[in-house]
Symmetry: C3
Subunit: 328 residues, 3 copies
């Protein structure tokens, strides 16, 4: 058996290790990092900006995100999970995204609160399960625990009248209508919405705040997001994706995440890595369209699966290319 112990993350950075911090401050750092992890970063100030952005977009979304982060963090403590991952926010983060997504897709009903709590508990199990399943290839779980848990709840929702009484969203995929012109607004809104959709918001100004957060985390994170978003917008436009979808970030948030993951986190810095990352962004953009069609007939949601699948494939491929090296 390949032991997942070998996959424990490196010790958290000094901020998080500051066990001397008073409890409430320590907890606050864990929760704030749960928001920053939406784009895989552990910087506290990135987390603060991301949390701010989520609340600016819609304060109720922020409340659900916090609720999820608190429950996941508490569950991780109760299950005796390695403290390092809790401090880095990788435990709270799946619950945070789960709360945000369930509020957005199901609305603020009483059942949504209970599902957020239950979902956040199950997220901690999903992080462990997926870490173990990916261990033979030493691949990171990324946002897959969130996608599994929220994906299952949303597909199941219309079978339960107390979760979603509004009928099934399932439908055969619809083709793009030719002849619709792009406006300049579509493109620049899309550029920022690609970032905000990482937190499931379609507001361009939410994306702008998050982009500031990324630059605060490190100039290369901000640059990766800028390049990833620009490549995704331009490719979607060139291929003729529906302008309305591009303007709300539907075709680009996966590219932004791929750019951060491949361009700054998991591969060694080199010119070849930059080229490889751009190819990854293009693949994620096309894969987004494919997965939108895949999920449509059974009422599933694409979420960040295109990012996850692309990153896993490109990391797996990298092991055999002498000119591309993994850092972990």
């Amino acid at each position: 058996m390949i032991t997942p112990d070998a996959l424990k993350p490196a010790a958290p950075d000094t901020e998080a290790e500051a066990a001397g911090l008073p409890g409430p401050v320590h907890l606050m750092a864990q929760l704030v990092r749960s928001f920053g992890q939406l784009s895989l970063l552990t910087n506290v100030w990135t987390g603060v900006l991301f949390m701010l952005a989520v609340f600016v977009g819609n304060w109720q979304t922020g409340v659900f995100g916090l609720l999820g982060a608190v429950v996941s963090t508490a569950t991780a403590y109760a299950l005796g999970v390695d403290r390092g991952t809790i401090d880095l926010g990788t435990q709270g983060f799946s619950g945070c995204l789960t709360g945000i997504a369930l509020y957005i897709f199901l609305g603020p009903q009483p059942s949504t609160y209970l599902l957020t709590i239950g979902g956040a508990v199950v997220c901690v199990l999903a992080v462990s399960a997926l870490t173990t399943l990916l261990a033979p290839w030493r691949l990171p779980v990324l946002t897959s625990p969130f996608c599994v848990v929220v994906g299952v709840v949303l597909v199941a929702a219309s079978a339960f009248t107390r979760i979603w009484p509004g009928g099934s969203p399932a439908a055969l995929p619809i083709a793009a209508t030719p002849g619709i012109e792009y406006t300049w607004t579509d493109l620049w809104h899309g550029f920022f919405a690609n970032v905000s959709q990482v937190g499931l918001s379609a507001h361009w100004y939410v994306g702008a705040i998050m982009l500031v957060g990324l630059f605060i985390g490190g100039i290369r994170y901000g640059l990766a997001a800028v390049v990833g978003s620009a490549v995704a917008v331009l490719l979607s436009w060139a291929l003729g994706a529906p302008p309305g979808a591009v303007a709300t970030g539907v075709y680009g948030y996966n590219g932004v995440l791929v750019a951060i993951a491949l361009g700054t986190l998991f591969l060694a810095r080199a010119v070849t890595t930059a080229l490889y990352t751009v190819v990854g962004v293009a693949v994620a953009t096309v894969l987004t369209a494919a997965l939108n069609a895949y999920f449509a007939p059974f009422g599933g949601r694409t979420l960040s699966w295109p990012f996850i699948v692309t990153t896993w494939l490109f990391l797996a491929a990298a092991t055999t290319f002498p000119r591309i090296r993994r850092t972990t």
Copy 2:
């Protein structure tokens, strides 16, 4: 290469090892156990009760189950499979369930007999293939060989006029209709039907006989089934699942199997295991609704996939929680 030899089950218990038994009695024990394995137990008397229950539900179902068990057992001998697994009924069991399911879904046509024989042969290959594929994580195959073989045959059926001339069952998933009241009968029928659906029957009295078989196998198996079934019924009711589906066990047989697998077989006995198992039952119940929707558009069947997926995820997760331990 991770050798699947390491996954050979422990030596069968003394009953089965009694090589001194006359051949027909020995074979009879293997076949009876094939029925008991519907709920993963190897106790001969559990098998007798389960076989009785299947024949009580519908004698033709029993005949198809026996046919499948005989063919799978014979195939396993012919392929030189390890004798221990044959004696424990884990080879015959997939063929048994295959025969039962093909009779129920396709009816007693001539082609169903041939498909049962062919399916039972392929089940033995599927047991081996899936054991090998799961070896890196040391996960048990559970009912996955049956689900793969029967799932493929049923989805393929409507393309072949001699298998299923009645048109494709494929349809977009339908949402639950709000406003239908539960009756007391729905709930207690559902409680027993959750057990009987393990053998693909919706009759409450078949479930009652099987529950007796579980208690004969060991009081903890019976208790696990009772708790699993009760949690599944109550959760389905609380979430607003369709009463008719709950009454026929649609939402609960996976919970029963999860309760037996996690609660009694694969995890060390502890209070934490009991709590963990209840969470697993809840997850399996929601996952059942999600997979029903997933399989609808292409005419697939949920079978016991929710049980399999939930158990795999919870066993994979358990390896990283110090308070939950796997027994194998």
Copy 3:
């Protein structure tokens, strides 16, 4: 981490190793082999016949196949991939099939040229990624890189007006209509079309040329294809598949590939292997019908997934049967 280096193919045969060959001849051999690899063979003369067959079917298909093969081969050089796999045509081959398939499904538009180039680049990454992912079980990638890349592009196509302005092909699966009689022509056309569909052509004479190519590669390859195609045609007829689909090879090309893979390449020669292979052909035929239904609602394509899945399962199963041995 299981290193995929252990999966490097054996040194290419002497022809390919002839580094003394002038560059253009060497390159020509690599490209010709990319066509021969459509049926997994490395023989140069098989490749010549296959290339001829593709051009005879439709010269534009041949041009797209060549374009894909050239781009994949060049990408493999640029990424520093092991030279052995390039010389054997296993790098160029996925690009070759990608070009053929994109031309057939999307037509000779400008975007199809660009997608062929992009797809052929990504194919090289997909070969590496899938090799790494399959490493724990030492399973060969077969045609899976092609199926992944082309499958994603075709499902995504209708979301982009510049790729496919013609609406989505997604539809619920349709059942076979009872009462349609087979003609003798359906059967013998189907026999050859099962071979030609390996290169995505439905012309019986294309299949005849390719069959000659297989016999030139070795009498056992030709015999395997004959047996695989015959078993697939007879089983489809016996089960009542639609005659028109059987006549165009829809139900049999996967059986031909399975027969070559299991019967001649990956298992030790023995009588038991021959029987095992025939079961594999039957499984692939039924699985083809199942996957046709699976892909229909989201507009996916079956491609050679039935061959891939069947071969992986039968190779994985073989490791536990003492009477069936893997050669690698």
